[in-house]
């Protein structure tokens, strides 16, 4: 089996060979951080382009096709435009919190990105509580939304932020519980080990019925947690204008915007790792070509991203009380029942393994 450690070890020995020992650690950290920032930006820009293309495809349009081949550089041009825009703000806003809010979102999504195993050992840090860490980190984002909505001194933004608070807190339960259902199968919270377990079959196959239920709940709750349609209460365009980021402009707006897309990718990536075997190829068909791990990981993740885009461009938006009804009266009880079902299946060894 191919091991990404070969590359990282090579880089490490190269750095150590010519640098004083005192600064190698920090240099490597900066290198990793830069790599992740680049990944973050590229992913964000690509996802925006993908969303626009997918939306166009659903809506009988062509989508961006002027800047570069196939509109490739459209989002880059948009990002440059946003960079050069004036940062306007409301007069009576709480300036400190107003400026702080976007960073909460961007940092939470950046930190979450760091724990994913993109391929074997291609992972910034493989902590033993990976899933727990992801759930915990993704809750930080909502603070940014709440702060942004509250501090910008705009009633529409405030309503959006409060909706977001209520929504994210509710749906985090479902995300957590549906992942917990799968943890029963793996017996570990560590992401690399979760993938190791799946070498004898993806978890969605191993856990069959409860796993499929958990996956469906996970996708619904995940879409809700990223505040995307049909759960986009937060920025319900026809109701609240732009919701919590009404008063943000320029790059601060872009932070919110990028974070939303990266969060979508994170939800898809967790789904890929926990349900669909992460970087493992289906039936081990490309085990002989090991560097394809990255390819499989992104393929699966983007398939799930596409699913979420499909939701967005097909379904109408729920009303805020219906949203809470769905979570507390349907998803949560089903989820609790599902955990028990999964526990019984694991206990009686009814799992499917190849």
């Amino acid at each position: 089996m191919y091991n990404s450690l070969i590359i990282t070890n090579n880089i490490h020995s190269w750095v150590v060979s010519w640098m004083p020992a005192a600064v190698t650690g920090i240099t490597e950290m900066i290198m990793i951080a830069l790599a992740y920032l680049t990944l973050f930006a590229v992913l964000g820009l690509f996802l925006v382009l993908m969303e626009r293309k997918v939306a166009a495809w659903f809506q009988l349009r062509i989508g961006p096709n002027r800047v570069g081949f196939f509109g490739m550089f459209q989002t880059i041009a948009d990002a440059l435009k946003l960079l050069s825009k004036e940062l306007t703000g409301t007069d009576k806003a709480d300036k400190f919190l107003y400026n702080l809010a976007p960073y909460f979102l961007i940092i939470s999504s950046l930190m979450a990105l760091a724990v994913f195993p993109f391929s074997q050992n291609l992972q910034a840090f493989d902590i033993n509580i990976g899933i727990f860490f992801l759930i915990a980190i993704s809750s930080i984002g909502v603070i940014g939304i709440l702060l942004g909505g509250w501090s910008s001194n705009n009633k529409f933004a405030l309503i959006g932020a409060m909706r977001s608070g209520v929504q994210t807190i509710s749906y985090e339960l479902s995300v957590g519980l549906s992942l917990l259902t799968m943890i029963l199968l793996t017996g570990s919270l560590q992401l690399s080990e979760i993938i190791e377990v799946q070498k004898s079959g993806w978890l969605i196959v191993q856990g069959h019925i409860p796993a499929v239920i958990a996956f469906m709940i996970y996708m619904i709750a995940g879409t809700a947690e990223t505040n995307r349609a049909p759960f986009d209460m937060v920025e319900a365009e026809s109701e609240l204008g732009a919701g919590f980021h009404t008063e943000y402009s320029g790059m601060k707006f872009a932070y919110f915007f990028l974070a939303e897309f990266i969060n979508m990718f994170i939800i898809a990536a967790i789904g890929t790792t926990v349900f669909f075997g992460g970087w493992l190829s289906p039936f081990g068909i490309t085990e002989s070509i090991p560097w394809l791990g990255v390819f499989w990981f992104f393929l699966k993740a983007f398939a799930l991203v596409f699913l979420m885009m499909w939701f967005r461009w097909t379904f109408p938006r729920l009303r805020v009380d219906q949203l809470l009804t769905l979570e507390w009266k349907y998803l949560l009880p089903i989820n609790l029942f599902n955990i028990v079902l999964m526990a019984i299946i694991v206990w009686l060894n009814f799992t499917i393994q190849f």
Binding site: A55, P230, D232, A236, S238, L318, R319, V320
Partner: protein
């Protein structure tokens, strides 16, 4: 005293939101003053006048031929029907009998206008409840009708095809062929509308039981068109006071009794099917003949008062002319369906959520220039 203060401290606070004049859900420049308690609406006050152009006053200055052009700018989505209302009023006053050909063509274009207005409404309705895709589906079909209009009338929005005494010019040679093509196309696309929105569980949850209007209230508030028919109030002017060629066709009045947003939605979907049926009955038998009768260059209506009502896509449009025998009307009044329908808004949305308000406003189908004139 002490307890009273404490209770007061925990009392939820009503606050005030300015929805519009620039807001995505107010379809133009309507301003709504909302009093809200959290998400729950306590009061809705429409504030009108942002697009008031004094059309009624301008009519007193213009000749009857010119007035027709002003009516385009009222309810721009049923401009042809508005034009026809004025022309019918003038023709009745002058006791002109227009050729059969004119009547049939007017009715066909009326119904095409109704379909194009309803497709646009359908798209916007979807957008208001959060399904952006329906907007593009609606526009796809509306564009085809606009193309037909462009060929025949030379315009896509403000058509000005009617003149007192007939039509501006004869229909384009392609007209019949293209209308038939459109009907064949649209018959396959309407079921798609149902697939995308009507059957969707979220959409039904958003609209069923929302903004309920009883039949009595519909009558009391002067509602008309699909809004009233969704409450079971049979009021189709085309049925009760047929004009142009409508007495030659058979069609069903779309009626639903629930009175909620979903019923109003279903009425409009059904109206599109009925319009298709009306066009199909007429398109093959357009009689030969002139496309207008000659009128004097300066039309002077005999002294008196004249009223003509027609059914636009939004409801009953009344044209009321008081003439003193001159070349201009002494006073002109339009009874626009939008204003009466909008007056319901506070009555049926109080107690709902902000999302309900948006869904209800979409099914009332307001066109702001029609309300303000």
């Amino acid at each position: 005293m002490e307890t009273a203060t404490i209770n007061n401290n925990f009392k939820s606070e009503e606050y005030f939101i300015n929805m519009g004049p620039q807001h995505p859900a107010t379809h133009g420049v309507l301003r709504l003053l909302l009093t809200i308690d959290g998400e729950i609406i306590k009061k809705v006050e429409p504030d009108l006048g942002y697009i008031h152009r004094s059309i009624e006053k301008m009519c007193e200055r213009d000749s009857y031929q010119q007035i027709v052009h002003l009516t385009d700018r009222m309810d721009y989505l049923s401009s042809h029907i508005n034009n026809e209302a004025v022309c019918l009023a003038v023709e009745n006053a002058l006791e002109i009998e227009v050729p059969e050909r004119v009547k049939v063509i007017r009715t066909i274009i009326d119904e095409l206008t109704r379909i194009s207005s309803h497709t646009l409404w359908w798209g916007v309705m979807g957008m208001d409840v959060g399904a952006l895709t329906s907007y593009f589906y609606g526009f796809r079909d509306r564009e085809l009708i606009n193309d037909i209009f462009e060929e025949t009338c030379g315009a896509r929005l403000t058509m000005n095809y009617n003149i007192p005494g007939g039509l501006m010019q004869d229909i384009h040679p392609n007209f019949i062929k293209r209308v038939k093509e459109f009907i064949a196309h649209f018959k396959t696309k309407l079921p798609e509308y149902d697939k995308l929105l009507t059957g969707n569980i979220i959409f039904q949850k958003r609209t069923k039981g929302v903004g309920v209007l009883s039949k009595e209230d519909a009558i009391a508030y002067g509602a008309s068109g699909p809004v009233a028919r969704g409450s079971g109030y049979s009021c189709d002017v085309r049925k009760y006071h047929p004009y142009s060629a409508l007495d030659k066709v058979t069609f069903n009045e779309a009626l639903h009794t629930e009175g909620d947003s979903y019923a109003r939605y279903l009425v409009r979907i059904q109206e599109m099917w009925e319009s298709i049926s009306i066009i199909e009955q007429l398109i093959d038998n357009i009689p030969e003949g002139d496309f207008k009768v000659a009128t004097k260059a300066v039309i002077k209506l005999p002294k008196g008062e004249y009223y003509q009502k027609v059914e636009t896509a939004r409801g009953e449009l009344g044209v009321y002319i008081i003439s003193t025998g001159g070349k201009n009307p002494h006073r002109m009044k339009f009874r626009s369906p939008g204003l009466s329908n909008l007056s319901l808004l506070n009555h049926i949305t109080v107690g709902g959520k902000i999302g309900d308000l948006v869904a209800t406003m979409a099914t009332i189908d307001i066109v702001v220039p029609d309300i303000d004139r």
